[in-house]
């Protein structure tokens, strides 16, 4: 069995308990950092060596991100964890909160120490409210055990963490929208620059990392950056939790080294639904361009390989579609999602997502027109790259890629006013 960075507690009874965590080396990294008064530069250096890239979707090198935080800033600084996991297909961070909450706490405390933060917040997707509550309990446990709050591990250093919940807005997964939401406002993304590292929560320097990213930190501190890097492949260090959903026999989370072949992951998930053939895969959450089966089966799962194939690893959410799927219907649902979740701030996204959805809906309902596919491509072109945040691009990615790879299916729908898949 390969090494697990985040999901190892599942091999133990009571995986989420502090007892299990501590008995297996949990909070050792924190103790070491505090006991040795480890310099921040040293920790950041190890994170850089580890090749850890943001697990939320963008894949930005974490060590580099951390190095952007102003070291000598006189006022408050913050560390924020992004557990606003609402990208269709993604459900890994939920399992970290569910099965290994203390590793996230430890990771956030080490991050807080390294970045000189005053406090940290974990922004948790509103729909997994039960885990908001259980993580708050884990915080209480950590406080009681001296891993959080005043005088952590007797070091004289104070730092606290709090849970904050969303309440139904996908866009808050975007880091600046998340900050706005954390400030008690609508979750509308901010224009960057300024970046959160200089103007973040309450206008103070802030680092925002994904849950899986922060949960990987204790492992890196304990075992060293090099060891983490070697779990994956160069520039794609570590393991990664892949969330497989859709038409597989065993949907779920699988933590494997980056660079694992897709075929291997598919096998771990029990293969394509019995009696069907693989048709298409969205390899990195709904915003990632779809790839046809023949391309996908040859790919390894790492940031670089998937990018080369024209899609993205994103959050590691693999949505598997078999030969029963009508691509028009699938796209209709996704386009509705982006239309429904657009924050409404930027003109192209506010107006364009609705336009695209209505056209796709017409096609699905047999009212498509021959010019619609070019129109969709053109409207998408007017949205992508022209909005404050990436939601505009995310809404366009599926439209462009579905039409690109499955154009015949769309044309059939328009011409015959019905589906070629037969349902």
């Amino acid at each position: 069995m390969s090494t697990k960075v985040c999901m190892w507690t599942l091999d133990h009874p009571e995986p989420a308990s502090l007892k299990t965590y501590v008995a297996n080396g949990g909070y050792e990294a924190l103790k070491k950092v505090l006991a040795e008064k480890m310099p921040a530069e040293q920790i950041i250096e190890q994170v850089k060596i580890s090749g850890l890239r943001g697990r939320g979707g963008a894949g930005f090198p974490t060590g580099l991100k951390w190095s952007f935080m102003p070291r000598q800033f006189p006022g408050d600084k913050y560390i924020v964890c992004n557990t606003d996991e609402g990208e269709p297909g993604t459900f890994k961070d939920r399992d970290i909160l569910r099965f290994n909450p203390h590793q996230l706490i430890e990771g956030m405390v080490i991050a807080g120490y390294t970045l000189g933060a005053r406090a940290g917040y974990n922004y948790i997707h509103g729909e997994i409210f039960e885990l908001y509550e259980s993580w708050e309990q884990a915080l209480e446990e950590a406080r009681a055990a001296g891993f959080l709050g005043k005088n952590i591990c007797g070091s004289g250093w104070d730092f606290d963490l709090h849970a904050h919940h969303g309440y139904g807005a996908y866009v808050c997964g975007e880091e600046t929208a998340l900050l706005e939401s954390l400030e008690g406002k609508k979750g509308q993304p901010r224009f960057k620059p300024p970046f959160p590292a200089s103007f973040g929560l309450y206008g103070k320097p802030t680092t925002i990392n994904n849950t899986e990213t922060l949960a990987s930190i204790p492992w890196i501190v304990r075992h060293g950056g090099q060891a983490f890097l070697e779990l994956g492949k160069p520039n794609n260090g570590g393991t990664k939790i892949f969330s497989i959903s859709g038409h597989v026999n065993k949907p779920g989370n699988y933590e494997v080294g980056l660079g694992t072949p897709f075929a291997e992951l598919l096998e771990m998930a029990g293969g394509v639904r019995t009696g069907h053939k693989l048709k298409a895969v969205i390899p990195g959450g709904s915003s990632a361009p779809v790839l046809p089966a023949e391309i996908m089966m040859d790919l390894t799962l790492d940031f670089d390989a998937i990018a080369k194939a024209g899609s993205m690893l994103g959050s590691g959410a693999v949505i598997v579609m078999d030969d029963s799927v009508c691509m028009v219907k699938a796209l209709e649902r996704l386009s509705y999602f982006y239309f429904e979740e657009s924050c409404g701030q930027c003109t192209p996204c506010r107006e364009g997502t609705g336009w695209m959805h209505r056209v796709i809906k017409r096609i699905e309902h047999g009212e498509g027109r021959p010019e619609d596919l070019d129109l969709l491509t053109s409207v998408g072109h007017g949205i992508a790259g022209r909005t404050i945040c990436a939601l505009g691009d995310a809404a366009v990615g599926p439209v462009q890629s579905f039409i690109k790879h499955f154009r015949k299916e769309f044309e059939y729908h328009i011409e015959h006013k019905k589906c070629m898949v037969g349902n």
């Binding site: 269709p88 997994i128 139904g168 008690g184 609508k186 497989i244 699938a330």
Partner: protein, 157 residues
């Protein structure tokens, strides 16, 4: 307007943030108020805004932006079913049809007896367990089948 219990919970939320940023607690406070009242009337929103020292329209912006806040009364049991693509692939459409047929209402509607409100939801971040639904915003039920759904609905009084 709100019970002492709710106010104590709101105070706990407020305590998480720097004193000059009480507004940060608005999402938690509206959630707590909604849990007590069943939905968010404008007076409730105004009360929460006053409690946090923020303009009522700013609280109203928040209440209307996030779709788990209910600005109209809902049934005793709000059942939000995710129909997004992964859940759809895993059978959410059939669950939706079953649920609508069983209760005789469409998404966005409440049964005549005020027992159930059906809502179409967006991704809840638990796709591996789909089809799934949320009961009254906070309790998730996963791996739904027509049979398990029947049992769930029957158990919700």
């Amino acid at each position: 307007m709100l019970s002492q219990e709710s106010l104590a919970l709101i105070d706990k939320e407020i305590a998480k943030y720097p004193p000059e940023h009480k507004q940060s607690a608005v999402m938690g406070a509206l959630r707590i108020a909604q849990a007590e009242k069943g939905w968010l009337a404008t007076e409730t929103i105004e009360y929460v805004a006053d409690y946090l020292g923020m303009p009522p329209i700013a609280a109203y912006e928040v209440a209307t932006f996030y779709n788990m806040y209910d600005l109209k009364p809902v049934g005793r049991n709000k059942v939000t079913l995710c129909t997004n693509l992964p859940c759809q692939l895993q059978g959410a459409d059939k669950i939706a049809e079953h649920m609508k047929a069983k209760l005789g209402v469409d998404f966005g509607e409440t049964t005549a007896d005020g027992r159930y409100t059906l809502v179409e939801g967006e991704c809840m971040g638990a796709c591996g367990e789909g089809p799934l639904c949320l009961h009254n915003n906070h309790k998730m039920h996963s791996h739904l089948t027509p049979e398990s759904l029947d049992k769930l609905l029957d158990d919700l009084k």
